[in-house]
């Protein structure tokens, strides 16, 4: 260890700060936190790859194992499966929002932010903005894999981009549920565990893997109201070049409803956390 002798003079100069900058705007503060989220992707890229392993396995396994049986050919099945796998992947990535927030709390970073004279929701809004980048990267990788193994969206680039955009809107809204869990639960691993318990039924009891028409009626009823099913149908439509307006509207409405309910709860918990 090199002996770092601190110079009292430099210290004194650094401490005696004459100009005090003006308080930054809510937008600029949120962007700074978004920048932090990007730095975390740069320094801890594993967080991204961890969540991409299972979709890759799912895609390959379902396509080649069941694809022929389910849709006649693997080629036909991948057209059906890929939008669904994309949705599942991104929805699982949203859990990391709660996980990261909880890690910040347990490590004490969170209290540093709360002790700053800034727009209060900024750390959370900024984290969600950063997450959008994470979702985009995950989407690109997921679609890239699909293209490699035969996914040919008829909707073209425009359809794919529109599909991903809709997915990002939904993911943003869904993230608020995980910020709540992140604020309520004690450890990051508990957040992970509980979130997965919420997500498993949402993703599997949906139309991601198969057409629900062969399911028992009770399950079918759940699948039909599950917003994830509507999201998958909407994205399939967009990517196939035949947008289904009804499902798109349902998705947007559920995104607004989720944000309207869960964002205020998050902020309440954030302000009153002990």
């Amino acid at each position: 260890m090199t002996a770092t002798e601190l110079s009292t003079t430099t210290l004194r100069e650094a401490v005696a700060l004459e100009e005090r900058p003006a308080r930054p705007s809510a937008v600029s503060t949120s962007l700074t936190f978004g920048w932090r989220a990007l730095l975390k992707i740069k320094h801890v890229p594993e967080q991204l790859f961890d969540v991409l392993v299972s979709p890759v396995i799912f895609t390959l396994m379902f396509t080649y194992l069941f694809g022929g049986a389910l849709a006649g050919s693997t080629d036909a099945y991948i057209q059906f499966l890929l939008p669904g796998i994309l949705v599942q992947t991104i929805i699982i990535v949203t859990v990391y929002t709660g996980y990261t927030l909880n890690t910040d709390i347990t490590k004490g970073v969170f209290d540093r932010f709360r002790s700053l004279p800034i727009w209060r929701p900024a750390p959370i809004v900024g984290a969600l903005l950063g997450d959008q980048v994470r979702y985009t990267i995950a989407s690109i990788m997921c679609i890239g894999l699909g293209l490699l193994i035969g996914f040919r969206p008829a909707g073209g680039v425009l359809g794919v981009v529109a599909g991903v955009a809709l997915l990002l809107v939904f993911a943003f809204a869904l993230s608020w549920i995980f910020t709540i869990l992140g604020l309520l639960l004690r450890t990051p691993n508990a957040v992970m565990g509980v979130s997965m318990m919420v997500l498993m039924p949402l993703t599997f009891a949906s139309n991601i893997f198969v057409d629900p028409s062969t399911m028992p009626s009770g399950l079918q009823a759940f699948v039909d109201v599950n917003p994830v099913s509507h999201l998958v149908t909407a994205i399939r439509g967009l990517m196939a070049g035949v947008p289904v307006t009804g499902d798109i509207v349902t998705v947007l409405v559920s995104a607004v409803v989720m944000t309207a309910i869960f964002a205020p709860i998050t902020m309440y918990l954030y302000r009153n956390r002990r």
Partner: protein, 339 residues
């Protein structure tokens, strides 16, 4: 609004409870504080005494259940934002991001405080240089040593040169060198006119830095005063002896009692003997060794130290520190009598 610019921190009847399950703990149970601007206040107490809870309430991180507190005249609840703009906070509860580099952490904070572009960069470079971290700036904080880690935490709370600084156990777990560096930093800040509230488990630390010390136990201030006032209440210090022959301990205790006038305590180690040194000036600690020598009792080890937090506690509360406190029983006998 009681306009009292003389006081940087002013608290009256602060109370905070915590409920976990059915159990409610009074973490802070009626604390009053008044800390003059430009001074250092040391809040001394064992783990779980309520030190951190007091600091978190003053730093607006926790709402008091009862009582009021003002920092530089701003109420911590009603004018929380004004308080946040004026204070800096360092401690286990206000940390930097370990995944980011030192530079990135400071740059983020500089931007959050409103520095833009090159000004932010300049501020960060100044801070890194001031805290001896220029070379480490590009490394992730998780690779830092304990001392560097504490310096980056301090730098992070000084981005805006706060007028009031809360340091929650700033040196716990640090080696003596790093601890001295932190102390030097605190002294510079105070010279510059900042007010510092620091919590510590070490009497020596409070003694070194603080103008006034408050001893906190079970969420209550049980004593307050300057370091010398506090020490007066417990005596100047204590001697610790180690005897060559355990069988003569009782006899030695009698002699020590006669010379010092205080009742020695007999630790579980059969060779050891400790006694408080009264500060009334009539009993001289220097007479202990000759008296024992005359009686033919060999004393291979003899040390004299400041009263430990243990002894302060014992004297103030009549009971020793709770068993589960680690770290609070720092060696009381630090200065070997080799002079």
């Amino acid at each position: 609004m009681t306009a009292s610019p003389q006081l940087a921190v002013e608290a009256a009847g602060l109370v905070r409870h915590f409920t976990s399950g059915k159990k409610t703990t009074k973490a802070v149970d009626g604390v009053d504080l008044s800390i003059p601007t430009g001074s250092v206040y040391g809040l001394l107490g064992p783990n779980g005494a309520g030190k951190t809870t007091v600091v978190r309430m003053l730093a607006t991180l926790l709402r008091p259940d009862a009582g009021t507190a003002k920092v530089l005249g701003h109420d911590v609840v009603a004018e929380a934002d004004a308080v946040r703009a004026a204070v800096g906070l360092t401690g286990q509860y206000a940390s930097v991001d370990e995944d980011l580099t030192g530079t990135e952490n400071l740059l983020m904070l500089a931007r959050l405080y409103g520095f833009r572009g090159p000004a932010a960069r300049r501020r960060v470079d100044d801070l890194l240089a001031a805290f001896g971290l220029t070379d480490a700036g590009g490394r992730q904080v998780k690779t830092y040593s304990g001392g560097m880690r504490r310096r980056i935490d301090l730098a992070a709370s000084l981005v805006l040169s706060p007028r009031v600084l809360f340091l929650d156990e700033p040196t716990t777990g640090l080696d003596p060198r790093s601890r001295n560096q932190v102390w030097d930093i605190v002294r510079v800040l105070v010279e510059d006119g900042a007010t510092v509230l620091l919590t510590t488990q070490y009497l020596e630390e409070a003694d070194q830095l603080a103008d006034r010390i408050g001893v906190i136990d079970h969420g209550r201030l049980i004593a307050e005063g300057t370091s010398s006032e506090l020490k007066h209440s417990v005596g100047q210090g204590a001697v610790a002896l180690r005897l060559a022959d355990a069988s003569r301990r009782a006899e030695a205790a009698g002699i020590v009692h006669r010379v010092l006038g205080t009742e020695p305590t007999l630790p579980t180690d059969p060779y050891a003997l400790t006694a408080r040194v009264p500060d009334d000036g009539t009993h001289h600690v220097a007479h202990v060794l000759p008296a024992l020598g005359e009686a033919g009792i060999e004393v291979p080890e003899f040390s004299l130290g400041q009263p430990s937090l243990d002894e302060v506690f014992l004297t103030l509360t009549g009971r020793p520190l709770p068993e589960d406190d680690q770290g609070s029983d720092e060696p009381a006998m630090e200065q070997e009598m080799s002079r």
